[in-house]
Symmetry: C2
Subunit: 411 residues, 2 copies
């Protein structure tokens, strides 16, 4: 892709320096108001919430308030919220905690083929310890069939873990229907990984009738290094981190007070503004989608309607998604091939593979994810550049095919 | 303790409002320079370090530099450092990771009776899974005897976990001598919990010849919610958190970039300034110690010389440590009875109990821990107030004893 010296005017190149960030599914910028809410706990209010003195009690009060805020937005109780170091820890605690606590009752866990690795690698880990795992397939759009989840149930089933929306293709799962189908069996816990869905899908844990639900702050303009797990009152988990009695004995370790406050404020803002943000982001995404899908050989991945509003995921046939992303990066547009957690891997996405895409097609994946702060101007620029790049990179790919000895390698 | 209306002039009461913080063992204020180093990663440089684009690469570069800084200070390699969510997670990963990885070779773990609960509760957790644990006793000063560690070894031993200095009484352990005694046995890993010692004891992991070593940023003026584990190259651990491939597959989850940068800068500053800080803090602590120990019935706990420079831990006979701390809190002096992680517990400290103090004496524990920012003026004020309070609270305790029906309860 060393084609920046293409005679383009200098002014245009300067514009490129202002990055257009279209990778909000990987992480989001920390919102200024959220940083403002965190700063007191990075300066004056520095106490350990477990300390009995006034310095500690101020920190404790803020931590309690953070629990209450998150609980309020989820229609939960404050004691049902446990802060973790992120979505990965939340899902690990939910899945391993529930599996080990349920061991006397059964050893069977159900999940789907398009879950995040924080789920899939966790259930694989459990398999080493004698747990049985059923990985339910998905359709072409990345959706599980509630009937297939129900069919996978047996009398040893203790846990069903599903994501609310997929991080790569944005498909929203019929989680409510799945829960209705599994609720008849006593003692089966349901964990929902809401990490990617949280900024866009309103969550009422009572209406959803879920037992465990994971959140990650940095997906909704909160800080990195903090997540939360909703644990329905009365649900027993085996804690995964031993030590002090923090978080009601469910998660040991001095609490990240600033992080918890940041998560709570970010989630509160996200929930309050969701009604206005979702249609605006979806409209921008649709405009970008329409501009991208006119390129020959480019097709949308994921469900056409039941998808997160900011998600535009495509496959560009006869293209290499990594090269496309790199070319866009040179144009000042930050997007990805899929999950940031697997970047650098030459393997095709497990999500696209599970959706039925052959490996050579899955390697053409490009994911653009818009956020609350994405502007019309940014989308206009991207809508102009992306089709150009997609066409150019496809030509590049064709050139490689025409020159198998690699004498004229475009990258 | 409702005795604030004691006719003291209003001006003196106003002075009390400026809290003197003597609980640096529980947590420390975030250093201003450290917050400054973190802020870019809470604002502009918000990328996910796993993202391949320029936004992600800037975050990755900072994360890499944080690994390098910590490694440099420990005389380690950058790849030997794994960032965790704190000291508790670091010790959990070290102990459980090493125990499970060593299961084929043996199932025996050795630790001491005065470890932090992040160690003691973790080894108890392992016992549920078939591991055997030897908890070696300590002497009156809280020191383990290297011979006793050596005697506890058997051919199933796979791990020895010891703290470098105790968090309650400040006693520094003869860790080097212990390691020399256990190194003859092939395959035995040594984990050192350096969480409390880190700001004051220089650590060279090669000279110490340790395999695993835990740090926590908020103990050395870094942020809460971030820790680090040194893992000697070639040491195999079973990861305790599954998901993405972060931290070279040893700790999944999007990295807390700002936290990692904060830890690295805080540790670097702490190491650079240690030579000047230690004697100054020790001199202040000694001055305070001399003022406190003249009170009848008050005795120092922990080792008289081999102790952390900021640690002043005492037992006040016929007193209740919690009531003394509360009275000092009303005087604007923040200190504790012991570990913040067990505050609120009516149980006597497991550390003091292990050191041979009977429960009724252990309940008279008061811990004052100075820090880098503690001033002479603060120590002068505390040196005046603490003896007064200790005498008064002892009288209060005597009054309760004289009035067993509780008609005249002083608190």
């Amino acid at each position: 892709m060393g084609d920046r010296g293409d005679g383009e005017p200098r002014a245009a190149r300067t514009i490129r320096r202002v990055t257009i960030y279209l990778d909000h599914a990987a992480t989001t910028p920390l919102r200024r108001e959220v940083l403002g809410a965190m700063l007191p706990f990075l300066t004056d209010v520095f106490g350990n919430p477990s300390s009995a003195h006034a310095v500690g009690r101020r920190a404790r009060a803020a931590l309690d308030e953070a629990h209450e805020k998150v609980a309020h937005e989820l229609n939960a109780q404050a004691r049902e919220i446990v802060f973790t170091s992120g979505g990965t820890e939340a899902s690990n605690l939910a899945i391993k905690g529930a599996a080990w606590a349920g061991k006397a009752q059964g050893n069977h866990v159900i999940t789907s083929a398009i879950e995040h690795h924080a789920t899939l690698h966790t259930v694989s880990h459990l398999e080493k310890f004698g747990f049985e795992v059923s990985v339910v397939p998905v359709d072409r759009y990345g959706r599980v069939d509630p009937d297939q989840i129900a069919s996978a149930m047996n009398d040893r089933t203790i846990l069903v873990s599903l994501m609310l929306a997929n991080n790569e293709v944005g498909t929203v799962q019929p989680v409510r229907e799945v829960i209705e189908r599994v609720r008849h069996q006593r003692g089966v816990l349901v964990h929902v990984d809401a990490v990617q869905a949280a900024p866009y899908v309103g969550i009422d844990v009572r209406a959803l009738d879920v037992d465990l639900l994971s959140l990650s702050a940095h997906k909704f303009e909160g800080p990195k290094g903090i997540g939360a797990l909703f644990i329905r009152h009365g649900t027993t988990l085996l804690p995964q981190q031993q030590g002090g009695s923090q978080e009601r004995y469910r998660r040991a370790g001095t609490e990240n007070v600033a992080g918890a406050v940041g998560l709570a404020v970010a989630y509160e803002l996200s929930c309050r503004e969701r009604e206005g943000v979702v249609p605006r982001v979806a409209a921008l995404r649709d405009r970008l989608r329409d501009a991208v899908l006119v390129v020959p050989g480019v097709e949308l991945t994921g469900h056409p309607r039941d998808r997160l509003p900011g998600h535009l995921s495509v496959i560009a046939r006869e293209s290499d998604g990594a090269s496309v992303s790199f070319a866009l990066d040179l144009e000042g547009i930050a997007c990805s091939t899929g999950s940031a957690c697997t970047t650098g891997s030459a393997e095709p996405s497990h999500v696209l593979t599970a959706m039925g895409y052959p490996a050579e097609e899955a390697l053409g994946a490009v994911r653009m994810t818009l956020g609350r702060t994405t502007t019309e101007e940014e989308v206009d620029r991207v809508a102009q550049v992306v089709p150009e790049v997609l066409v150019r990179m496809r030509v590049g790919a064709a050139a490689v095919a025409a020159d198998p000895l690699g004498q004229q390698v475009p990258s």
